[in-house]
């Protein structure tokens, strides 16, 4: 039995008058990949943005209910959001490296979080992070080149390296492959398989096939509600809910 890393209880999110999430109860297991699927606007990105308090940057956003990581209340007003984001990294749909060198992209996080005080410590973090994100061999001789000079797939792996450079516990991925070609996608999926040995991963994806390939657990959202959650295999072979079945089989009108 896996440990629950993140637990949401009756989580509601409002953007002004509009309610985006309704009483979401979802457990994310430690060192597992959880995939969140559902049509655009169903709340899956809103949900993962609650995990690292990204919704804080939206003024009109209000979150109620409970969301915990290892028993710690993520919504606690006194919580240090910077240290939360150190523990919960995020990778976005479009690769967004800083307009800096490959090296600086990775070393920036550890520096501001006070990790890697000496140059050799930072060198080690950069090397390890790039190795973990399966990019080291491709970039080890050009670390001073701009991150933006890399291909799309490499940039996304750079962003993953950047996320893991501060040694987080959870990695949130919001459609990380939607801008990538099939080969770059395969590399990221291979990487996710490797990363799940160390990290708890949540991935939002529009590709059913990707959800099946990378995740152990899948949650289906619709109109802000978590309709069904279960083992990925079960969800895609024999879901309990008719709405889930209609969505994954392409019967949504």
């Amino acid at each position: 039995m896996s440990n629950v890393k993140i637990k949401s209880k009756n989580l509601n999110v409002y953007y002004g008058d509009k309610q985006a999430l309704f009483d979401v109860n979802l457990d994310l297991n430690e060192k597992e990949v959880t995939a969140l699927i559902g049509p655009s606007g169903c709340g899956k990105s809103t949900f993962i943005r609650c995990i690292n308090r990204m919704n804080d940057v939206i003024d009109i956003c209000k979150v109620t209910g409970n969301i915990e990581m290892d028993g710690m209340n993520i919504n606690d007003k006194d919580l240090d959001v910077v240290s939360l984001r150190e523990r919960v990294g995020m990778v976005f749909q479009k690769p967004n490296p800083f307009p800096k060198s490959i090296y600086d992209n990775i070393s920036y996080g550890p520096k501001i979080h006070g990790k890697g005080e000496t140059k050799s410590e930072l060198d080690q973090i950069v090397e390890n992070s790039l190795k973990k994100s399966a990019l080291w061999e491709e970039v080890k001789d050009r670390l001073d080149e701009p991150g933006t000079s890399l291909s799309g797939g490499q940039q996304q792996r750079l962003c993953i390296a950047r996320a893991i450079s501060v040694n987080p516990e959870v990695i949130l991925m919001d459609e990380p492959c939607s801008a990538l070609d099939p080969i770059a996608t395969a590399k990221i999926e291979e990487l996710i398989d490797e990363l799940k040995k160390t990290y708890t991963i949540v991935i939002v994806t529009h590709s059913m096939a990707q959800a099946v390939r990378v995740s152990q657990k899948t949650g289906f959202f619709h109109l802000g509600k978590l309709i069904e959650v279960g083992k990925t295999e079960k969800i895609f072979k024999n879901p309990d809910n008719k709405m889930t079945q209609d969505y994954i089989t392409g019967r949504f009108g």
Binding site: K237, G250, R251
Partner: protein, 230 residues
């Protein structure tokens, strides 16, 4: 009842696959019945027709294979669609094997004498009728997605085993009365065994239909009747 797919051609392809399987099933049913009649009536004229219809069944099988490959490649079916696709593949394999067994039975008619005693054929006829009924019921359970009916067929294979045992015994009795019966009795024994094997394929189909409907395999081993030592 499920909604229709957003993509119409997907809906049509799945329907086309189901239709092909139903046609293949009905062809297999007729062929099994014809082969049974040919044995019971020692009707040597129908042998060629039965062999010919097996070719038709085999063609259906490859046609269905192609449809399934296309569906997998084009649509990557999920959930009920995935189960429908995979079940079609399995059911078409079982139907094709039933076709082969019917063909084999038709071929056994050639060496049979025309004056076989009724008591010898009576049990074989009963077995044939039961297997026919089983095939009809299982195809019906597939068409109407009737779980209980499929499970009933699965359970009833026990009766097929029992009747096979009885039919075998009557042939062996007959054989033991006069050694000159040996040649054609052997063919009758094989024909009986073929029917029992067809029964096993029907049971496989019943299991597949249950999986198709509920997404879970039937639990436990299926009931078994008396079995002739091989």
């Amino acid at each position: 009842m499920s909604n229709e797919h957003t993509v119409k051609s997907y809906e049509e392809e799945l329907q086309f696959l189901k239709d092909s399987l139903i046609k293949m099933g009905s062809l297999t049913e007729s062929q099994l019945g014809d082969a049974m009649d040919a044995v019971i009536k020692v009707d040597k004229d129908s042998i060629d027709k039965i062999i010919k219809s097996d070719e038709e069944i085999n063609k259906f099988r490859s046609k269905i294979d192609t449809q399934i490959m296309n569906l997998l490649v084009k649509r990557a079916p999920m959930a009920i669609d995935l189960r429908e696709t995979i079940s079609s593949l399995k059911i078409s394999q079982d139907l094709e094997r039933i076709g082969d067994l019917s063909k084999s039975n038709a071929k056994k008619v050639k060496p049979l004498p025309l004056d076989l005693p009724d008591e010898l054929l009576g049990n074989l006829k009963r077995l044939g009728e039961l297997v026919m009924k089983q095939l009809n019921d299982v195809l019906d359970s597939y068409v109407n997605k009737n779980f209980d009916k499929a499970k009933e067929v699965w359970k009833k294979d026990e009766q097929v085993d029992d009747l096979t045992y009885i039919a075998m015994e009557s042939v062996i009795d007959f054989l033991s009365k006069d050694k000159k019966n040996l040649d054609f009795s052997t063919h009758l024994i094989f024909a009986t065994k073929n029917l029992e094997r067809a029964g096993d394929h029907i049971t496989n189909i019943a299991e597949t239909v249950c999986y198709l409907i509920k997404g879970e395999y039937l639990k436990g081993s299926r009931p078994k009747g008396k079995v002739i030592q091989e």
